[in-house]
């Protein structure tokens, strides 16, 4: 388990990481998401003991990285943004050195090296100099270095950068399988990657945590939905009906010119609003041809959360409630992102427990059987 408390890193006047707090549970894959310069790499560098923090604590599997660095580092495998490779060594020499450095028992070094090479399928370049390898191979050698010695926690800074599509899929599969036995924390700015392999997403912006939740929950809860209705009724007929509905934040009409009108209704609530719309339209005497719902994608949420630099923000996650100060700050973005209705009382942990099968990016078709007349 990893706990980050009130972590702050300043470079002169520039604040790279700003009072960051979160907890990471065992046996899960966590994804750091954020634009460039959000503080992802800095946070990872502090968590692994490469950099010292200006303020705050990092507890890695029960050891404080500042007070007992060697014990803490023993439980981490780290793949930095640029893989730390010695170009003059062969892959085997390099991995042997890494294993010895990580205090793998002398008898097991050979086995550990071969095992790591097999996992990353780099056996075929085992005796080649690292300087002659392609970028994808170098990245994989760096990855092999991280998993050598079977550490409890893997911290991977952009693990799929520089790989070709086939290798990306292989690495993702590997991370998924590693995630069953280890705690994995990875950073990425590829949203699809994070939503595919991570159980939990931490979105960072300007050194602060703006969201911590599962990708599905984030997509479902934060940005609401847009419903598109095509109807032969006129805008004036539909407007009072639609605006009277709950959670509607905006209604916009366009005339299709073929005797139909398209209405775009935005919702901020959870769940599927189509049933309410259909009931209301039928009750209001408006007919319709189709009702489609479109959910916000992770991308929308990402942009929404990371763009709001000036406004204050908020997080739903109950873990954050421990920290009253950051809680206050977190409250506002959440509200602004439509995540929380009550500012002072953050939503409880239900966000994590609700089983959500809805695919965030799927556009659901309206049920044809309900098409009117």
């Amino acid at each position: 388990m990893i706990e980050v408390r009130n972590l702050t890193k300043k470079y002169g006047d520039h604040i790279a990481v700003d009072h960051l707090s979160f907890k990471v549970d065992e046996g899960q894959v966590y994804g750091f998401l954020g634009p460039n310069g959000a503080g992802k790499s800095t946070t990872m560098n502090i968590m692994t003991g490469y950099l010292a923090a200006t303020e705050g604590d990092v507890i890695i599997n029960g050891y404080n990285i500042l007070e007992e660095p060697e014990k803490a580092k023993r439980t981490i495998g780290y793949l930095p943004e640029i893989p730390p490779l010695y170009p003059d060594m062969t892959v085997r020499e390099y991995l042997t050195f890494a294993a010895e450095l990580k205090k793998v028992p002398r008898k097991e070094v050979k086995l550990a090296v071969v095992h790591a090479m097999q996992e990353l399928s780099i056996m075929d370049v085992a005796d080649r100099l690292i300087r002659h390898l392609s970028k994808g191979y170098k990245q994989r050698v760096g990855f092999a270095q991280a998993i050598i010695g079977d550490p409890e926690t893997l911290i991977l800074d952009e693990p799929t950068v520089g790989l070709d599509p086939k290798q990306i899929i292989e690495i993702r599969e590997l991370i998924k399988s590693l995630g069953r036995r280890h705690t994995v924390i990875l950073s990425s700015h590829i949203l699809a990657e994070v939503s595919e392999i991570c159980d939990t997403v931490l979105i960072m912006s300007r050194g602060r945590l703006v969201a911590l939740d599962s990708p599905e929950n984030l997509a479902r809860k934060s940005a609401g939905a847009t419903v598109t209705i095509t109807s032969p009724a006129t805008a004036d007929e539909m407007r009072p009906v639609l605006e009277g509905l709950e959670h509607v934040t905006g209604v916009d009409f366009t005339d299709d010119g073929e005797g139909t009108v398209t209405a775009h209704v935005t919702f901020d609530g959870e769940g599927d609003p189509r049933k309410d719309i259909i009931t209301a339209l039928t009750a209001g005497g408006c007919s319709y041809y189709s009702v489609d719902v479109q959910r916000a994608s992770l991308e929308d949420i990402f942009l929404e959360l990371t763009d709001s630099e000036d406004e204050e923000y908020d997080d739903t996650d109950d873990e954050m409630t421990e920290d009253a100060e950051s809680q206050d700050r977190l409250n506002s973005v959440k509200t602004q992102a439509g995540m929380v209705s009550d500012e002072k009382e953050p939503e409880s942990s239900e966000s994590d427990s609700v089983a959500d099968t809805e695919q965030s990016e799927t556009q659901e078709e309206a049920d044809s059987g309900e098409e009117a007349e």
Binding site: K71, K73, I76, P80, F97, A98
Partner: protein
């Protein structure tokens, strides 16, 4: 520490730097040996060793320029510093590897007194080996300082030039004593120059303009105040301060037949200081 030591030794053996350093040392020492001992028929090895100090101009930069500069350039310091190894082990592992490479030609030098036995070198065997010991100690001090210089920058060329300049400065600084007047007032000026240098150092480390100005002013005023109170205290102090970096005089003494333990201890303490400064420097970078 073992893993780092092994890796360093391997990298010196497989890259150019190790063989070049050893070859240059053997070449220079061999030439001096032929010139002083074999041509002139001198039985004492002292002159050979004394004149071999030239090699440091090449050996120090060649061996030390990469130690930490390369780690930082290739970002491999991230591997070392996030591994379950203490910083002291990392620095010592590298330092012992440097000393090991340097010890190879020193071991070859140990054969030379035996060759001189037919020339009557048997009686001078003791001084010969002591001179090699001082030479080795001086080398260890240089390597330690060179390692510190390499931890200051991530540019190989700057690191190499820094090493050469350091060797140059420590070799000629005894000449500078005569240039700096021993008078009280000249020493005051010297202290003020030191204050300015310290201020520049503070600025480089912190990039904080006012802090460096403050340091300069406080130090300069303190020196001036002390000068007003007891001007005699300043007499000859500049020479004392300069002599901290005077490797040559400590090395030279044995050539005049006066081997002394303090000289040897001087080199040992410089070596320790270099290692400690390197550790402090790397630690400091983690915090900035």
């Amino acid at each position: 520490m073992r893993a780092i030591y092994k890796k360093e030794i391997k990298s010196y053996a497989t890259s150019m730097s190790g063989p070049i350093a050893v070859a240059v040392m053997l070449l220079v020492v061999g030439y001096m040996f032929r010139y002083y001992n074999l041509s002139y028929g001198t039985a004492s090895l002292v002159y050979t060793v004394f004149n071999s100090n030239l090699i440091f101009y090449i050996v120090v930069p060649v061996l030390t320029m990469r130690t930490f500069t390369d780690e930082r350039r290739q970002k491999t310091d991230q591997l070392l510093l996030t591994a379950p190894v203490s910083l002291i082990d990392i620095v010592l592992g590298k330092y012992f590897a440097l000393i090991t490479v340097f010890a190879v030609p020193i071991l070859v030098m140990c054969i030379l007194p035996l060759i001189l036995i037919p020339l009557g070198g048997g009686e001078m065997m003791g001084t010969a080996y002591l001179s090699i010991l001082v030479f080795f100690a001086m080398g260890c001090a240089y390597l330690s300082c060179g390692m510190f210089i390499s931890s200051l920058t991530d540019n190989l060329i700057i690191s190499a030039i820094g090493g050469i300049l350091f060797v140059f400065a420590t070799m000629i600084i005894h000449n500078a004593y005569s240039m700096v007047s021993a008078s009280n007032f000249a020493s005051l000026i010297f202290f003020i120059v030191l204050a300015v240098l310290l201020g520049i150092l503070v600025y480089v480390m912190t990039k904080f303009y006012w802090a460096s100005l403050g340091v300069i002013l406080v130090c300069a005023l303190a020196a001036f105040a002390a000068f007003m109170v007891s001007p005699d205290w300043f007499g000859g102090k500049s020479e004392k301060i300069l002599s901290i970096f005077d490797f040559f005089s400590h090395f030279e003494s044995f050539a005049y037949g006066s081997f002394s333990i303090p000289d040897l201890l001087y080199f040992v303490s410089v070596s320790v200081a270099g290692v400690v400064l390197t550790i402090a420097r790397i630690q400091k970078r983690r915090w900035s």
